[in-house]
């Protein structure tokens, strides 16, 4: 039999939502390091080979000097680059440290009933809100909220901003920014078998073919040969080839949808999905996941009932308003499943009024005392118009 209530806090499973918090800065640090490594390897290979060449042809001292100068310049560039990478790295490490500390805080909290848990959960909510705002493209709000709450280290504004600007450029019909991003993340894309770049190249092809202009069609063919032909997936080349046979206003599928301007939206969505995949970000805002779970966990059949609930409503100060019944979430929760309960949960010593409303006896009495009902009489706190005789209330049995 499952417990009805719990205040036990199991940090490890509680961190379900917080994996991306640590993953993202780490993925960024790794990418940063790989770039550093690549820069270093290139300079090393260059320097060593020009050193070889210089050793072979030493006839001219001036040429030797010039080639050494070139080597020095390259090494200095490398150093500058590495320094920049190092700065970036330090910042990412600091971010990770702050986040680890934030998660450690949770481990130090003894139970869900602890005040500290409330505080922690508030910070988590703020993080989720910033995450949501960023994903929706409400960047200014996100920045402002992060700043006012002092949680800059715990949110990923830069990463989402970059992602958002590339997404927007795609929605406006530009492939350039996204192609550049693909170039920067080639390895990762290959690893996850992404066809994003091919899709982009295909889009470029479609745009060339759209006009139906002969010279453009030739250009498109060359483009296809260069970018779509040599790839491992022949599907793209085939689709491109087929497209040439149809004008932009064709009704024939799949070419109709290939010409459709909606394909840009599809590309933007694919990009966002790929981006989140690479950086271990969940495809949906964390707020969606947590909130929909929370709505269900809290929802009861009473929350959307046609009858006012006796146990939790805004008309009486003895109860607190249920969050699902509160205006903010009520509509949102309408279509989610309600929580499962295997046992009744009612106030102590329940009694029923003649109108069929059930209250805990103590609460009913103290409420009536507060609203100043006459001695020996009882009023229903949710409907004060009727007054009953105290003798009319009746004990009920709820098992």
């Amino acid at each position: 039999m499952a417990e009805l209530t719990t205040t036990k806090l199991v940090p490890d499973s509680h961190l379900l939502l917080d994996q991306p918090l640590l993953r993202l800065p780490h993925e960024l640090a790794r990418k940063n390091f790989k770039n550093a490594q690549r820069a270093f390897e290139r300079t090393r290979d260059d320097t060593l080979s020009s050193l070889d060449n210089a050793t072979k042809a030493t006839s001219n001292p001036e040429a030797t000097l010039a080639s050494i100068d070139a080597m020095i310049a390259k090494a200095q560039t490398l150093k500058r680059k590495l320094e920049a990478f190092h700065t970036e790295e330090t910042q990412l490490h600091r971010q990770s440290r702050a986040r680890l500390q934030h998660l450690q805080d949770l481990h130090d909290i003894p139970s869900l009933a602890d005040v500290k848990y409330d505080e922690w959960s508030k910070v988590r909510l703020d993080r989720m809100l910033v995450d949501y705002l960023l994903r929706m493209g409400y960047t200014d709000s996100a920045r402002q909220l992060a700043k006012e709450k002092g949680i800059d280290e715990l949110v990923d504004i830069e990463a989402f901003m970059q992602c958002g600007s590339i997404e927007r450029s795609l929605r406006h019909g530009r492939t350039q920014e996204c192609l550049q991003w693909c170039g920067e993340n080639k390895q990762a894309l290959k690893k996850m078998n992404s066809s994003l770049e091919l899709e982009l190249r295909l889009q470029q092809f479609i745009e060339l073919a759209r006009s139906g202009d002969m010279s453009k069609l030739i250009e498109a063919t060359i483009h296809a040969k260069k970018y779509l032909g040599a790839q491992q997936d022949p599907e793209f080349g085939l689709r491109a080839g087929g497209l040439l046979a149809y004008p932009a206003d064709t009704m024939t599928e799949p070419y109709k949808s290939m010409y459709s301007p909606n394909r840009w939206n599809h590309l933007a969505d694919t990009f966002v999905k790929t981006h989140h995949g690479i950086f271990s970000l969940p495809p949906k805002p964390l707020l969606h996941i947590a909130l929909s779970a929370g709505l269900s966990a809290l929802k009861t059949p009473s929350c959307h009932s046609a009858y006012a609930s006796s146990s939790s409503n805004s008309s009486s100060s003895t109860t607190s308003v249920c969050p699902i019944c509160s205006t903010e979430l009520n509509e949102l929760a309408r279509n989610v499943p309600y929580a499962h309960h295997s046992k009744s949960y009612v106030e102590n010593d329940p009694v029923v009024l003649p109108n069929g409303r059930i209250y805990g006896r103590d609460r009913l009495m103290s409420m009536n005392e507060k609203i100043g009902t006459a001695e020996g009489k009882i009023r229903d706190p949710t409907d004060l118009s009727q007054e009953y005789d105290e003798m009319e209330i009746k004990k009920v049995f709820i098992s």
Binding site: L103, S296, S317, S344
Partner: protein, 447 residues
């Protein structure tokens, strides 16, 4: 967690490019030295270059080693991360209500920000959200893949969502009736903002300045509504005021008053205040007001009197402040704590259970969001239970509007469907006691 932190510390200490940068500098030094040598003695250029080759190579190898160290530290940290988050997958429910109702979601967030007093963020957010209403993430995909969209389930809501969401702020506040129907959504969110601004203003006065004035004013304005709710707020505020005057806290005059060596000014002021204000409470709080006045008899040794509780209660201010928040939100029909906060926190607690459920259900191909009732019980802390819950002892089902709880004459309650099943329309014995009754006699009750 400890391993993870240890690995990260290691990463910060060893896994950085500092050394690599230094070693590149050494390489540069080598090259510069060689250049100087060549320019000093051009004839030995080939010698110098030949001698240069190995040290440069070694120097680069050094940098490579440095990098290797970073790489391995990163890998160790990756492993620690993998281990920490071993089996945790996020539930992937693809039909959550937030995706299909972006406007309602935005509205909930705006209200949360307002109620938390984040007015600046809220106004930025409302502006941004209105300028770019609910980016339809899935629209493009849906158009491509024909009609697999989520629209089917949300048909009835579409009319509502056609309006800008901020218009929903209408009807929120109990006294916006004065506003014309044509008022824009933004104005209404301003309404709500003003409400909460007022709340924060009063709270600030209460908590920070220990000034009861604004709160008492507000309570008096809403006296009737508060009374109907059975709220003590107005009286509690006035009682605190009485105590305040009595002890002469907030009144610097009485402290310095040389004509008042025994400090009688306080109690006198309190008495005067009581005469002004307490008659207003006479019906409901006759006993309390008269006992309060009785305290005058004990002056000045209140700390040994029965009034110790009332006069030396440090928590009184905070109690009044939180009861003020509850009443204020209650009058707006809102819960005292941000519902968004409560729900997200409950979600955080529920998710591990749901994640496990999804893993199990995934095997048979089902999702928890697609049913009417969650298939498992989710234990939450007691403070997260708001409504009474009736589970029929016969059918073990929760009562709903179509299957409401029915009370038999003996006072036992079962669900309507169970009642129909047990009785089959005839006189029947209560499943829990010997009493017999006819289903006609059973009466619907409300929890």
């Amino acid at each position: 967690m400890e391993t993870l932190r240890a690995e990260h510390q290691r990463l910060e200490k060893k896994g950085n490019l500092k050394k690599a940068v230094d070693d590149v500098q050494k390489t540069i030094d080598l090259l510069v030295a060689a250049r100087d040598a060549v320019s000093a003695d051009p004839t030995a250029a080939s010698m110098t270059l030949a001698k240069l080759k190995n040290p440069v190579k070694q120097s680069f190898d050094k940098v490579k080693d440095d990098m290797q160290e970073v790489y391995s530290a990163q890998n160790r940290y990756t492993k620690a991360l993998d281990k920490k988050f071993k089996s945790l997958n996020l539930p992937t429910a693809n039909s959550d209500p937030l995706t299909t109702h972006p406007n309602l979601t935005n509205r909930a967030i705006a209200m949360h920000l307002l109620r938390e007093g984040q007015f600046n963020v809220a106004s930025t957010f409302i502006a941004e959200a209105n300028a770019k209403p609910s980016q339809s993430n899935s629209a493009g995909v849906d158009d491509l893949s024909a009609s697999s969209g989520p629209s089917a389930s949300s048909g009835q809501d579409t009319t509502m969502e056609d309006k800008t969401w901020s218009q929903d702020f209408a009807g929120l506040t109990s006294d916006v009736d004065a506003m014309s129907d044509g008022a824009s959504g933004l104005e209404k969110s301003t309404e709500l903002q003003e409400k909460f601004a007022e709340m924060y203003h009063i709270l600030h006065a209460l908590r920070k300045e220990q000034d009861l004035g604004p709160a008492i004013l507000w309570a008096r304005e809403h006296s009737e509504a508060l009374e109907l709710r059975g709220s003590n707020l107005e009286f509690e505020l006035c009682r605190l005021r009485f105590v305040e005057l009595y002890s002469g806290w907030s009144d610097p005059d009485s402290m310095q008053d040389s004509q008042d060596p025994q400090g009688f000014t306080g109690p006198l002021r309190a008495l005067q205040y009581a005469r002004e204000v307490f008659p207003h409470f006479s019906n409901r709080y006759l006993r309390e007001t008269s006992t309060l006045l009785g305290s005058l008899a004990f002056f000045p040794s209140l700390d040994s009197s029965p009034y110790k509780q009332t006069f030396f209660n440090d928590a009184a201010w905070e109690d009044v402040a939180s009861s003020f928040v509850r009443e204020f939100c209650g009058l707006l029909g809102l819960s005292e704590k941000s519902p968004l906060y409560t729900a997200v926190t409950a979600g955080g607690i529920a998710l591990p259970v749901l994640e496990k459920l999804e893993r199990k259900m995934g095997e048979v191909g089902g999702q928890w969001t697609s049913v009417n009732e969650l298939p498992v019980e989710i234990p939450l802390p007691p403070s997260y239970l708001f409504h009474s819950i009736f589970v029929c002892p016969v059918s073990k089902e929760q009562a709903t509007d179509v299957n409401p709880p029915m009370m038999m004459p003996c006072g036992h309650i079962i669900a309507k469907e169970s009642l129909e099943k047990v009785s089959r329309g005839n006189k029947f014995k209560c499943p829990y006691c010997p009493n017999e009754s006819h289903p006609r006699e059973a009466k619907q009750v409300y929890m």
